[in-house]
């Protein structure tokens, strides 16, 4: 009986990163649907007790409680991946994965906010953080352009890692905040590879057919 429990919101991209890895690892887990919108349930006392930052996802594994999508990816890859592919242990690759995880949290954070505003604001004006969101996507496309010259198709190393999963939603969901895929040809090809990973699933904003 799996002790893994994910506090999850189906439309949240940070939860989606964790759902992708859980599926890729073939892990069984209990999914608790949280009413993040419109209910802001992640700010309710019962969930703040688990995660004082008032955010999702939250992962529980027996007595362990973790928040932060990238931290959860690290934990799951470290603990549940006997192949060692999702979180390589060699120092160079480990360092690169860590770098891109931080990029996903910090630089791609603009995309999370831009998307949230585009989806849920009641106001009619231009949404913010578009320049910053596009800047992060450009850095990602520049990186994958150079990688492709060497015949590499993943952000780090020679197979998919949690870095790829952490970076995927920012571009995959970019149309949610009005940014087309036209300017990111290397990322388009990389996204098609992600779709073939084991257990891949979509979320609204990512078409089922491609």
């Amino acid at each position: 009986m799996s002790a893994l429990c994910l506090y999850d919101y189906e439309l949240d991209e940070n939860c989606y990163k964790v759902r992708l890895l859980l599926a890729a690892l073939g892990l069984t887990f209990r999914k608790i649907a949280v009413d993040m919108f419109p209910g802001a349930e992640e700010m309710a006392p019962s969930l703040l007790a688990l995660n004082p930052t008032g955010s999702l996802p939250i992962l529980q594994d027996d007595d362990l409680t973790l928040h932060g999508a990238e931290a959860i990816l690290l934990y799951l890859a470290h603990h549940y991946d006997p192949s060692l592919q999702w979180l390589p242990r060699t120092p160079t690759l480990f360092g690169q994965v860590a770098m891109w995880l931080q990029f996903a949290t910090v630089q791609c954070g603009a995309s999370v906010l831009a998307r949230r505003q585009s989806l849920f604001t009641a106001e009619a004006g231009e949404i913010g953080l578009l320049r910053q969101s596009k800047h992060a996507l450009r850095i990602m496309d520049d990186h994958m352009t150079l990688r492709e010259f060497d015949g590499d198709v993943w952000f780090v190393g020679t197979s998919a890692t949690i870095a790829d999963l952490a970076l995927f939603p920012a571009i995959a969901l970019s149309r949610d905040y009005g940014v087309e895929h036209e300017a990111y040809p290397a990322l388009r090809r990389w996204m098609r590879k992600i779709r073939h990973l084991p257990g891949f699933l979509t979320m609204p904003g990512i078409p089922n057919y491609y």
Partner: protein
């Protein structure tokens, strides 16, 4: 930003907030190009006024939402008989902004042929893509568009069900910016679930919309019901935002309907008869 001068659009009621969200703290949004502010007075009564104006706009509290108008509607807000049934679950799914025209959103809600491709393994799946013939009409007595005897094979017919079956649906368009469906409730086949979509046009190419449900299901967790409908609604967003032109074409050229598009044909004819310019290509070069 400029308020529209289209009388067909102005002289109608629009839901602009969920009632439980309306508090003493003012909330601003835009309706038909006009910025408006909603809040509650000291007595608790909801107030809406246009930004830059002090007089209060007409308001109504109906179907869990705050409604207002910038014009002079010739009728009251439509009825939803099922909403009055006391054993119903009322599930407001939250307001979502769409970079699309309101009428395009209505048409998407009326459409079944997209179920297998957009709501895959939820509302439909290949190879059962066939849309059986159904009936559609503009009901002149009530001035609404209705589509009846609609059926579609769904792999998972509702939250309570695991098996596939033909869902039976009726669609109703009581006003140009509201669309509803009635679904035979699988767990109580003599009753109908009601899912309504209230659309607040902000600009001709921008709107807010909230699915609102009045459900018979008394067993499923609220969050599961919410998730089921939110996923479906958000899956449609990428479609309506990427139709060209953004505004709904009301002349027959350029877009080719099939028999499965009967309700959309009726809806477009109805809008053209009304002369709705806002959100459509009517009278535009």
């Amino acid at each position: 930003m400029a308020r529209t001068n289209d009388p067909v659009a102005l002289d109608a009621w629009y839901a602009v907030e969920t009632l439980s969200d309306v508090t003493r703290t003012p909330r601003q949004t835009r309706l038909l190009g006009q910025d408006i502010i909603s809040c509650r007075s000291e007595t608790g009564a909801p107030i809406v006024h246009a930004v830059g104006a002090s007089h209060h706009l007409p308001v109504r509290e109906r179907h869990g939402c705050l409604w207002t108008t910038l014009g002079k509607p010739d009728r009251e807000i439509f009825e939803i008989a099922e909403a009055a049934e006391t054993d119903r679950r009322f599930v407001p799914c939250g307001w979502v902004r769409l970079h699309a025209s309101g009428p395009r959103v209505v048409e998407n809600f009326l459409d079944m042929a997209h179920f297998p491709f957009i709501h895959t393994n939820i509302l439909g799946a290949e190879p059962q893509t066939d849309v059986p013939p159904y009936d559609y009409e503009i009901r002149r007595d009530v001035d609404e568009v209705w589509a009846t005897n609609c059926r579609f094979f769904q792999p998972r017919i509702a939250v309570t069900e695991e098996n596939g079956d033909f869902v039976q649906l009726t669609f109703r368009v009581p006003t140009p910016f509201v669309v509803m469906l009635y679904r035979v409730c699988p767990s109580a086949p003599t009753r109908l679930d009601v899912i309504a979509l209230f659309i607040q046009p902000m600009e001709e190419n921008l709107c807010r919309a909230q699915p609102v449900m009045f459900l018979v299901d008394d067993r499923s967790a609220f969050n599961e019901l919410l998730k089921f409908e939110q996923v479906i609604f958000l899956q449609d967003r990428i479609i309506v935002e990427n139709q060209r032109p953004i505004l709904l074409p009301l002349d027959p050229h350029g877009e080719i309907p099939t028999k499965a598009d009967g309700s959309s044909i009726a809806y477009r004819r109805w809008l053209k008869e009304k002369g709705l310019r806002y959100g459509t290509t009517l009278n535009k070069p």
